[in-house]
Point group: C2
Chain length 107, copies 2
């Protein structure tokens, strides 16, 4: 069997989908500097709050970020564990070092 992570296909697809949008990548970039609340991010991105809220939800549902509500605010941060797991998923994409002999449908 090919090297595979424990994650299901839909789960992996969902993680990559969360990463497939520029705004969300920028959000992650910002979160690398530490916890931020939504108002921090609306300030940085100069965009509607509901739009950010939407993207944060996508990231959260993929498990890539964590939400920590505190009083009136919600602080978001990178989920370091998820990023590590993602690294493993990407590792598993590498071709097997021993290539199987070419199987042939084609003469």
């Amino acid at each position: 069997m090919t090297t595979n992570t424990g994650k299901s296909l839909p789960t992996v697809a969902r993680i990559f989908h969360a990463l497939s949008e520029e705004t969300r990548l920028q959000i992650l970039e910002h979160l690398k500097e530490g916890e931020q609340c939504v108002c921090d991010l609306t300030g940085v991105f100069k965009t509607g709050q509901s739009r950010l809220s939407f993207h944060l939800r996508v990231l959260k549902e993929a498990g890539l970020i964590l939400a920590r509500p505190e009083g009136r605010w919600v602080y978001y941060s990178l989920n370091a564990d998820a990023v590590e797991e993602l690294q493993e998923v990407v590792n598993s994409l590498k071709a097997s070092s021993y290539r199987a002999a070419k199987r042939g449908c084609c003469p």
Copy 2:
């Protein structure tokens, strides 16, 4: 500056988008075993040829796979370089080890 790969945001988003669909992940999984032509894959996935052709194009345009036309067939294979670059992109998602002091919009 935060660790960043040389890749542009749209390029990175496009790569992740290519990885965000189950069929495409399965295609990559198969290509780990070596080069395959489209007819190999239609055999495996028991699906329409145009559908596979579509997904292969998405993967190819993201740079994740390579196409090698030979006569009547086109052989697809993993682009190992692209996977390595992807690993770097994912590495760069990790939080900076020294977290910046919490900046405050919020009292």
